[in-house]
């Protein structure tokens, strides 16, 4: 039987969740034996090569491209997992949800105290994906099957969840792993 395929992506996240995944240390070797990585920043595969069993989503959706990628993940993966607080709830990027979009952009590119932009132009190249009015958690854009809290979730949490998922059992996460205060 071929190994299950797994894909990962970072949408509007900081890559911290991916770093945490790498933090499983030498268990990455076991993981490599258990699964085949498909589209993922870990192996730098830019697109899917086949249907995947599991997709791990870091980050919520802040722009149109995030939405396209997430929808593609939904189409290509049997199970989608939101990893970390950005994916599950929007996280830090969602702080901008309280502020009108134009104000955010002006502060970042025109009015901010450290900005040098004599033209006062907000980046408008058509190549740049359009921002969404708000940052949306992944589950508000597509259906998500599992959510792992944490910023980032610890390597042990990710490891336990992944191995349980692959083994078809439910993850036993002791209190220490999901307690964040």
């Amino acid at each position: 039987m071929s190994k299950p395929r797994i894909a990962t992506t970072s949408l509007c996240g900081c890559f911290g969740c991916h770093m945490s995944l790498l933090d499983i240390d030498e268990r990455i070797l076991t993981l490599a034996q258990l699964v085949e990585f498909d589209k993922s920043p870990i192996n730098d595969h830019k697109d899917f090569t086949a249907r995947c069993a599991v997709g791990l989503i870091e980050g919520g959706c802040a722009n149109a491209e995030n939405v396209h990628v997430l929808r593609r993940f939904r189409e290509q993966c049997d199970i989608l997992v939101s990893v970390g607080d950005c994916a599950t709830m929007g996280g830090i990027p969602a702080l901008r949800n309280m502020i009108p979009l134009e104000e955010c952009l002006r502060e970042a590119y025109v009015d901010g105290p450290s900005v040098f932009n004599p033209e006062g132009r907000i980046p408008d190249d058509p190549e740049i994906p359009l921002l969404l009015d708000k940052v949306y958690p992944a589950q508000e854009v597509v259906r998500i099957d599992y959510h792992i809290p944490g910023c980032p979730p610890s390597a042990d949490t990710l490891w336990k969840t992944l191995t349980a998922l692959l083994g078809g059992t439910s993850a036993e996460l002791p209190y220490e792993l999901i307690k964040y205060d």
């Binding site: 359009l130 508000e140 259906r143």
Partner: protein, 601 residues
């Protein structure tokens, strides 16, 4: 600070003996005189009453009848409640808005008018209705709205809007209101002649414990919603140690669709005050407070007059009914527009001059209530029942109604019925019988027990009104065949979203989540998983909210879901690709596209 403001603050603070626990009265008085409690006024109150600025400011920001920003000399508050919406709130509000040239929330440039929307003002039998300062204006139409504005512009005195007086005491010189009582059915318990003097004398001839025993024998339970046995509550307060005790009558009546306490206070204030006096005697309280919602301020002078008469007659004050040491007096505490203040511990905070945040319990008010002293809070109708029990004896009371629920219940019926109004029915009556009485035809749904009660459909019309089946604080809103029950549930959730005090996350956020979920379903963008989420959110709210508001406010959604499941199912759909049907990429990038092309908003 201007001298006139300074002088007013000094005067107002002095009028309550510079007692910080009377902050509410001070703030209300300043608001009435200056149209706001400005930052300067807050400063003055801080100095003269000795309460911190943030305390004053948080009080002012909490109550909708108080504001830091100046309001117009005349504030028109259009009642925005589901019943009013069904009967033309939008049109009426727009007529006011057009005529005044300001949107909801706006004030005219000359400072003459402010236009606002407000939650149920206790006039669902008169929908659409509004308050013009303290004057209720009823049964509005667009024409009437325009006339009201034109008239006010000419004389600026809301009282003069009242041309035709209502029935009964609504026509009393101290009330002079166009409100009608709409008493449609009087039963033999509450809306029947009471000999309130007799009742008070009888109580005075008994020992306090005997009075409590009589109330227990009558099997009286609270009429305010929770249905707690009144005698047992009184016993707790009687037994609780304390140098002072208090008896509070809850006349906050904020549950949308309820107006029976309004009618009791208008027509039978003596029964209510006698009930308070008897209750005070039973628990050992010498001080009573009537907490009157701000929306009923038009009844205040009249009620003060009744209290004065009772003092003159020897039914308030010292040695009532000539019994040595039977001392009791009542003061009226005005609210300032907050539904949650009907919750008894929030009400006590409000009486103490604080924000109306509910308290943790235990301790229960009966142990530690107003100012920390043992306090009983009872509903207006409960106290009217007490007078009846003492007057006619416990047996007369307990023999009426059903086995488990003794006595009668006042229902405030409004919405799509031929005869809106107050009905006194025996407990145990079926919903169908009530609908027949009120001439409800082709009824599709009934919201019973107010928004935190239940929305039931025809399948439940043979169920009975009593504590063990369809419990109710008195609101009964009837919806005809053309109404959309989901839309109605949404309106109730909007109400709770506005009225949650915001202390607990599950309630503050949960009400909004449920409202947004219904929005999705109504827009045809819901999924079956949304319905499952309603149940999950409700479970969390019920288990983790601090007060009765958050513990029950999901009921409109859950009960509508139960009663109208096929309607919900017909509106929700699974997306074959598992994309969220509620997410609209086009709409959510519109603003960014506009900014990019430099377009106007």
């Amino acid at each position: 600070m201007s001298t006139s403001l300074e002088n007013a603050v000094v005067e107002v603070c002095a009028s309550v003996g510079n007692d910080p626990s009377r902050l509410m009265d001070v703030a209300r008085d300043i608001q009435a005189r200056f149209g706001c409690v400005s930052a300067e006024a807050i400063d003055g109150i801080h100095k003269h009453l000795g309460v911190s600025r943030p305390t004053v400011r948080s009080l002012v920001s909490f109550y909708s009848f108080l504001s830091e920003e100046p309001k117009g000399r005349i504030v028109i508050r259009v009642c925005d409640d589901p019943v009013d919406r069904l009967f033309g709130y939008e049109r009426v509000q727009k007529a006011f808005s057009d005529e005044l040239g300001i949107p909801i929330g706006g004030t005219t440039p000359d400072g003459a008018f402010t236009l606002e929307r407000t939650a149920c003002i206790g006039m669902s039998d008169h929908a659409p209705a509004a308050l013009v300062n303290e004057t209720p204006v009823t049964d509005l139409s667009t024409d009437k709205a325009r006339e009201i504005v034109a008239e006010l512009r000419a004389h600026m005195s809301p009282e003069r809007l009242v041309k035709k007086l209502g029935d009964g005491n609504n026509a009393h010189p101290l009330v002079r209101s166009m409100v009608k009582n709409h008493i449609r059915k009087a039963g033999p318990i509450v809306l029947v002649e009471h000999r309130h003097r007799e009742a008070t004398r009888k109580a005075a001839a008994m020992s306090p414990n005997e009075v409590i025993r009589a109330v227990k024998a009558a099997r009286l339970r609270g009429r305010g919603g929770a249905g707690f046995p009144t005698g047992i509550k009184w016993e707790m307060a009687r037994a609780a140690p304390g140098p002072r005790k208090f008896l509070v009558c809850n006349a906050d009546e904020g549950e949308p669709g309820t107006f029976k306490d309004r009618v009791l206070l208008t027509e039978f204030p003596d029964r209510v005050f006698a009930g308070m006096t008897i209750a005070g005697y039973a628990i050992g309280a010498k001080e009573g407070i009537l907490y009157l919602r701000a929306e009923y301020a038009y009844l205040r002078q009249f009620l003060e007059d009744v209290l004065a008469r009772r003092r003159a007659e020897g039914f308030l004050g010292k040695s009532i009914a000539a019994r040595h040491s039977f001392d009791f007096d009542i003061r009226i505490q005005m609210g300032a527009g907050a539904y949650v203040c009907g919750e008894e511990s929030a009400l006590l905070n409000s009486c103490e001059g604080l924000r109306g945040d509910p308290r943790n319990r235990p301790p229960f008010p009966a142990q530690k209530g107003y100012l920390g002293f043992p306090t009983i809070v009872n509903n207006v109708e409960t106290l009217a029942c007490v007078t009846r029990i003492l007057d006619a004896g416990p047996a007369t009371f307990s023999e009426y109604g059903s086995k488990q629920s003794a006595g009668s219940k006042l229902l405030s019926i409004s919405g799509d019925v031929g005869m809106v109004g107050v009905y006194e029915v025996p407990f145990g009556v079926t919903l169908r019988e009530v609908l027949e009485l009120a001439d409800g035809r082709e009824t599709q749904a009934v919201q019973i027990g107010g928004p935190s009660g239940r929305m039931v459909g025809p399948a439940d019309f043979d169920r009975t009104i009593c504590y063990d089946d369809l419990a109710t604080g008195g609101a009964m809103v009837v919806f005809g065949p053309d109404r959309n029950p989901i839309e109605i549930a949404r309106m109730y959730m909007e109400f709770f979203e506005d009225e949650s005090c915001g202390f607990c996350t599950p309630c503050r956020v949960g009400n909004g989540l449920l409202r947004r979920g219904l929005d999705k379903v109504l827009a045809g963008r819901g999924e079956p998983s949304d319905l499952a989420q309603f149940e999950e959110v409700a479970r969390t709210m019920k288990a983790t909210s601090r007060c009765g508001l958050g513990q029950t406010s999901f009921n409109p959604v859950l009960s509508t879901l139960t009663s109208f499941r096929p309607l919900f199912d017909s509106l929700v759909k699974e997306d074959p690709k598992k994309f969220r049907r509620s997410f609209d990429l086009e709409a959510s990038t519109q603003e960014a596209a506009r900014i990019r092309t430099g377009g106007a908003r």
